[in-house]
Symmetry: C3
Subunit: 275 residues, 3 copies
């Protein structure tokens, strides 16, 4: 598998796909930096006057509701429709779904309108979207990815899209296909917006790989490996963030070959048998 991941990275570095983000204020800078470090070309644009134009020239559209306000929802819908019409892949991150009714309802409205190619979220958000009354504390996950697995499966089935759930183990689900990514480091949740960065990077992979299941898996592998490399050099979340960007920038084929830890999932009982 490492060859396929590397192939996508080379394509991103060579083609520098434009990734159009309508995302939250907290992570605009850090996700733009991650996309640039990886080799993609980020643009942030949210005005209703231009989102259709921008989505139309992009290689992928990333929608993230992290600091939602009413006027942005319209722009998200416009951009998603424009992207869908031109078969431009759409990655949706329902940040904080379940924390307030406003967020949950907005995601359901966006999903009713246009189907994203990939939903990328943490376990709590995935549970909130498919289980009524699930409780979420803010934007950080309080559920394990395992706990969200069944919810993710039903979400993928209902929306006929790929679902990518981040956590200590990442789960990527597409129809009957399920894949696990074990890469990553426990210090990563202590840097704000690394979940949102996973979403943005998933957009970059979706821009160069027409198989969204693969794109979602490859993105989580690269996120996790960059986090591992960074954690070896970091003394805390501040230095982790900087080394994470450097790791994305410098990542080599042998980094991937040497560190990749993944498994297809045929049976849920396999989940805890890490390699």
């Amino acid at each position: 598998m490492h060859r396929k991941v590397w192939n996508d990275i080379e394509k991103i570095r060579t083609n520098s796909p434009l990734v159009h983000n309508i995302t939250n204020y907290v992570v605009m800078n850090s996700t733009a930096n991650a996309l640039l470090a990886l080799g993609a070309s980020p643009v942030m644009a949210h005005a209703p006057e231009e989102v259709e134009d921008m989505a139309g020239i992009a290689g992928a559209l990333v929608i993230n509701i992290g600091t939602l306000s009413d006027s942005w929802i319209k722009s998200m819908s416009l951009a998603m429709n424009a992207a869908a019409k031109q078969n431009i892949p759409i990655v949706l991150d329902p940040v904080g779904a379940g924390a307030t009714p406003f967020r949950t309802q907005t995601v359901h409205k966006l999903l009713a309108d246009t189907t994203p190619t990939i939903i990328r979220a943490n376990a709590s958000e995935i549970r909130a979207l498919s289980i009524k009354g699930a409780k979420v504390k803010g934007v950080d996950s309080t559920d394990s990815a395992e706990a969200a697995f069944e919810a993710g499966r039903s979400l993928a089935r209902q929306n006929e899209c790929v679902v990518s759930i981040s956590g200590q183990t990442d789960f990527i689900i597409s129809g009957e296909s399920k894949y696990l990514v074990y890469n990553g480091h426990s210090m990563m949740p202590r840097v704000t917006g690394l979940g949102c960065t996973a979403t943005a990077i998933t957009g970059a992979f979706a821009a160069v790989n027409s198989n969204p299941f693969e794109a979602a898996i490859h993105a989580m592998i690269v996120m996790g490996i960059a986090g591992e490399i960074a954690a070896e050099k970091a003394t805390g979340p501040g230095t982790l963030q900087m080394h994470f960007l450097d790791a994305l920038y410098q990542m080599s084929e042998s980094d991937i070959a040497g560190r990749i830890r993944t498994a297809p999932l045929s049976d849920l009982t396999d989940i805890n048998s890490k390699p």
Copy 2:
């Protein structure tokens, strides 16, 4: 005193209190990172549709007017009211009060509506709020904390709240009680938003310590010590910012015991007799 500071840090790391921030665009990322590094769980949300829900599940509410616009004022009021009703502590940072009439008036309006638990600001802002016609240049302080001391006292009395004034020496005032924190480093004002970070962190301490005077003091001690540790490793404000986050993440009881420099203030003539 270092035991009580450490006790609060342990509570933050164990309970990971949700801190709801309605704050400015400049510092959303850096204050979220500081809260995560310390062990709290930050959420940024500003839509009127959800701020009452979010404030209602939070351990503390942080209001910061740094990049104010009219539509946000309503959300700030809604969130402050919701928090006050449930006795959730509110920390208000009147960024740039005095620089424009719009900012000064907005702060007076917010204060007339709901009393915050703690007002945390720099000296120029505190002076602008209690002295008519005081001049402020932008958002950086041009007054010493000493110069703002009397203004802070009257502000604390009028609003029956704690006032925490940052500067080379920090002053924390509550009724007749006054406390000085000498910790900190002269390079800190060269990193944007470290004042706002002090405010956010004050929110985290207020979430775990029901005595807001103590919470405000402990927050300024931890800010100052993290800044000192970071400055020893930094070669400028860029590396300072990263090491500051690492220092929050790694701070130990012995760091606090070894570095804490504070004093109760009984007489204003003590101000310049640093330990």
Copy 3:
């Protein structure tokens, strides 16, 4: 020339001019940090209720359309008018002009209303503003500065302002005067917002140097040298960004004297004869 650059830096460090930015969400934090590291005092304010007051007390106004929305255009116009009336220098960065009609039209509208002192942009944006139908991909430049040279000349002539075009070689144009700055490093475009940082820093230099052609040249020299110093210490764009801020903070007269690489341009055939 290095003496004149150094003279401006000393003035910035001594006077700490207030630079009022109406800028995009992505770079608010990073440009504020760059201005602080250099010695200036940044303020970000965008509310129509206060932009005239804020621009009126500033040493320079920086307008950047990177994450444009309709409600901000009015504030940009108000601030530009207020600054122009008081002869406060205005630096305009038309981020992403050409990428969507909305951006191009907004820049033309702003230019029709008030003449900025300096337009600072990348090559693609400059081309889009003076050549109808020029195509731009997002916010990253796909043209060389050389390709934008003639477009920049006509833009400077039409608007009677200085035009500063960043790229591998920077071109600064004022009437018949043209200047080249060769400083910089190839890793710099992999950090988001370093173009916007060049614009913000140009504001700081314009606040202390009444000759905007010199201010624009000095800013690009300092940007480039800080980038070179940072790149020698960096292992990727993450660490580059931190060392860049440290380099601005620590820059000495001998750094400038030892590294400055510039040339006046009398003939376009000189462009590629780098020193």
